[in-house]
Each structure stands twice: as C-alpha cells, then as structure tokens.
Amino acid sequence: MAFEPKIIGFLCNWCSYTGADLAGVSRIKSAPNVRILRTMCSGRVDPAFILKAFQLGADGVVVMGCHLGDCHYQEGNFKTIRRIPFLHRLIGGFGIDRRRLRLEWVSASEGERFAEVVNQFTEEIRSLGPLKLPVHAEMRRDVRRVKDLEEATH
C-alpha cells in the first residue's frame, strides 16, 4: 500500500481552525492527511505535545496560529514562535528531520491558504517518507497515566 502520511495539525481556535472551517464550507479540496487538534491558542501547544505526537506515530506536525499581531490573545503566537526553533533543534537531535515540524500562520479568512499549507506539507512529508519511530505500547500507557493522574487530582 502506498505511504499515506499521518500528520497532526495543532490549530488555534480563532484563526486557523476558523480558516480550516472556511476551507470546508468553501468546498476547497485539501489532503485528508492532517488530523486536526484544536487548541484555544497556538500558545497552548506544549512542546511536549509535539514530541508526543511524533512518539505516537505522527509523520509530521504542523502548528497553525494567527498572523503575528493578529492573535486573539494578543501575543500567544509570539510564545509559539519562540518554542518552535527550540523544538527544531531538539527533534534534530533525536534524528527527526526538521522539515517534519512546521509553523504556519493561517488567518480566519484564509481558507485557500489553509488548503495550500495542508497540501504542500502533506506532499513534503510524503516525499520524506514515513518517520518509522518505534511506537511502544508503553508510550500509549504514558498518555493514560497522565489522564489517570489528572482525574485523581480533580
């Protein structure tokens, strides 16, 4: 079977998620490979989530937020823009190609741009091939452990 990249897209609620929605209602075709995870702000994307995504079998991760200066929370995307280069170095150290992690700005009105980013990134990951990190059952248990811990403390 041909390789179909699994991509995780962290989309901020106000710009990129709305932009993705616009792409949908405008019936713009885009690759189905990006699995969208909504956060209120791109600033909410904990670097650990991105590493976890790679660990759990994602071939690529794209973080999308509002354009600089347009953040619904004033400056959340400035926090993101500082985290991504750090992560690029980190995943480089793990032997993961830096091109597998991307930061993009997509505003609520840029449905076409959303589709463009998704298609382009999917093609790039497709040409890079599968990441082939071993996914251990242990890692999935990790997720459950965080969940149990959180439930226990609330």
Binding site: G43, F49, A53, Q74, G76, S107, S109, V143, V146
Partner: protein, 338 residues
C-alpha cells in the same frame, strides 16, 4: 469649542464604522477625474440634493440640461481586478438615480448592468416601474468611456463603449453625463480598528461576525459587536435590522447585570505549584498573581481568557487549562494516531 479627549469606561462596544467608497479613478477607462461630466454616485447624490451646488437641478458642467445620462453599475464590485463581492446597494440606487433624472429632466437614460439584483421588499416592483418609465437597460459591462463627437452647440459628448450581451454586439452609446456606481469597500483604517478590538476580518476585508447565520452581530471578542457596512455591504433596512439586533444583545447583558464567561480558564493546582513564577510574566492579561503567603501563583478567573499559554509553559504541570487539559489533549493525540 475646543476638542478634548475623554476617557469613558464601557463594558461593551458596538463597532459600526461603516465603509469607504471605491475610488473610481482606479478604473482609468471610465474617465473619472479626467473627463468632464463623469460623476461618482456620491458626487451625483450631492448634485441631486436641494442644498447642493445646483440646488438639486440635474445639469452639466456648462449649465445645460443633459440630453442623455448613462449609469454604469458594478464599478469596482464583482470585478476580479478590484472587489469580487457584490456591493448590494448599487442596483437599487442606480434605479433611484434613473427615476430622479427621469423626474427632473427629459434625458434618455441608459443603465449598463451585469445583473439586476433587486432583492429586497418592494425592490423588484420598483425595477418594473422604472422599466415602464422607459429607461434603457443594457446588459453588459461598459468597457471604456471616451470623448464623443462635438455637437452643433459646440459641446462635446461622452461615448460609452460596451458589449450588449443580450443582442451579442458591441455598442457605442453617446451620453452627456455619466454616473459610476462605486463599490463599497472596507474603511481604510479598518485594520487598525480590527487590531484595537482584536476582531477578525473576512477575505473581503470587512469585519468578521462570529457566525454567518447564527450570530451575525457578535465577534470573536466578548463584548464587541458589529453592525452595518463595517461587517459587509448592506442597505439601510438591513443595517437597521442588524444594528437593532446588536443593540438588543447589548441591552440583554446590561439588564441581566452579570456576564457569563466561558468555562475555558486556567487554574493552578496549588499543591504542585513550585512558585517559579514563569507563568506570571507570560500572561498577556496579567491575570496571574503570585501569592506571597502561600508561595504559589494564582489565576484571577475574571481576567483570564483561557488562551493556555501559561499551561503550556508550566514546568511542573501545576497549571491546568480547563477544557484543554494535558490529559484531554494527549488523549486526543492518542485517538488521532491510532
């Protein structure tokens, strides 16, 4: 009287900053600003006004009554080179102009239109009435306006070159006066206003409503509402309807006296907080304060907007984003990557 700056504290804001009119000189072939007797819709409105320069008389620059008047629709709207959207009001005010010119002069009237959009209550009836008044409708976009022939009295006419798509021919129509129906466009300072209230814009540059059908007056920022042409081109009845809706929304909050806030908020689990204060400086709303006595950080729930920047930064996971906890997002990840 001297201008003065006043600071007034308010809880809600209705943004109704309106529109700007498309500068027709950007469409050079129509001769706006270079040819005499070519008017924009607003110029012509002034000419019609009884307190205007001609006292409401429709006359040419030389003071004579025009023998024929052309009205070009969709100047800058429904045009891939300028604005792809329809400005909605032009068809109807073009008909109004035709009616008033017919009323005040004996001029022949030509309308150059792409499609007639008489969409409102009573509008189609008005259109049919105008057809009965004997105006000439030419379906097709005017290509250019040039200086026409000299008349016997020594004046020069204008000549509209256009395609008449209903008969499939190119035509040249001589007119004495030409009115351009300029597009409505977002105000020049719309981007500044937008950033001030941190609201979004749609692809056409007008302010974006929270939901096109279910929430057409509010924005993504709590307490900020939009109405009128700031949100998109619309005529007076639509503006009044939208503004009334927005006013009712605002009043309903004032009447209730308290505001419901989104449950998406950050929360410190004090037993895990080491008091490192990383989150304190990250918060764009200064919602996080440091409790000196307990040596932990504390989130002021009324100030917190729930962006989660602090949650992502907390090294000991003491900060929880309600609705978007680490466990919830990780479970989502887990589910997405099965």
């Amino acid at each position: 009287m001297q201008d003065e700056v006043q600071e007034i504290e308010v809880g809600q804001v209705l943004v109704a900053t309106g529109f700007d009119i498309f500068d027709a000189s950007a469409m050079a072939p129509y001769g706006y600003g270079t040819l005499d007797n070519v008017y924009s819709a607003l110029d012509f409105e002034m000419l019609l006004n009884s307190t205007g320069p001609t006292g409401g008389k429709v006359v040419l620059k030389n003071g004579k009554e025009p023998r024929s008047v052309g009205i070009i629709h969709c100047v800058g709207s429904r045009d891939q080179n300028h604005h792809p959207y329809c400005s909605r009001v032009c068809c109807m005010y073009a008909l109004k102009f035709a009616h008033l010119v017919h009323d005040r002069t004996k001029a022949a009237i030509y309308q150059f239109y792409i499609d007639m959009r008489a969409f409102g209550k009573g509008y189609e009836e008005f259109y049919v009435r105008l057809l009965d008044e004997g105006i000439t409708m030419i379906r097709g976009k005017a290509a250019e306006v040039v200086e026409g022939q000299w008349t016997d009295s020594g004046d020069r006419t204008l000549c509209v070159r256009c395609e008449d798509t209903l008969i499939g021919r190119f035509r040249e129509i001589p007119v004495d006066m030409l009115i351009l129906c300029n597009a409505m466009e977002p105000r020049r300072d719309a981007d500044r206003v937008r950033k001030l209230f941190s609201i979004s814009k749609s692809p056409d540059g007008f302010f974006l409503e929270r939901h096109p059908k279910l929430d057409p007056t509010s924005t993504t920022t709590e307490g900020v509402y939009i109405a009128g042409c700031a949100q998109g081109p619309k005529d007076i009845p639509d503006t009044v309807a939208q503004a009334s809706g927005a006013a009712a929304r605002i009043l309903s909050l004032i009447a209730r006296g308290e505001v419901e806030i989104d449950p998406v908020r950050a929360l410190v689990q004090e037993e895990y907080c080491s008091g490192c204060r990383i989150c304190n400086t990250l918060c764009p709303y200064t919602a996080i304060e440091y409790l000196e006595d307990k040596k932990v950080s504390h989130v002021n729930e009324a100030l917190c907007k729930g962006c989660g920047t602090c949650v992502a930064a907390c090294p000991s996971s003491a900060m929880t984003g309600q609705g978007f906890t680490d466990a919830q997002i990780l479970s989502e990840l887990d589910g997405l990557l099965v």
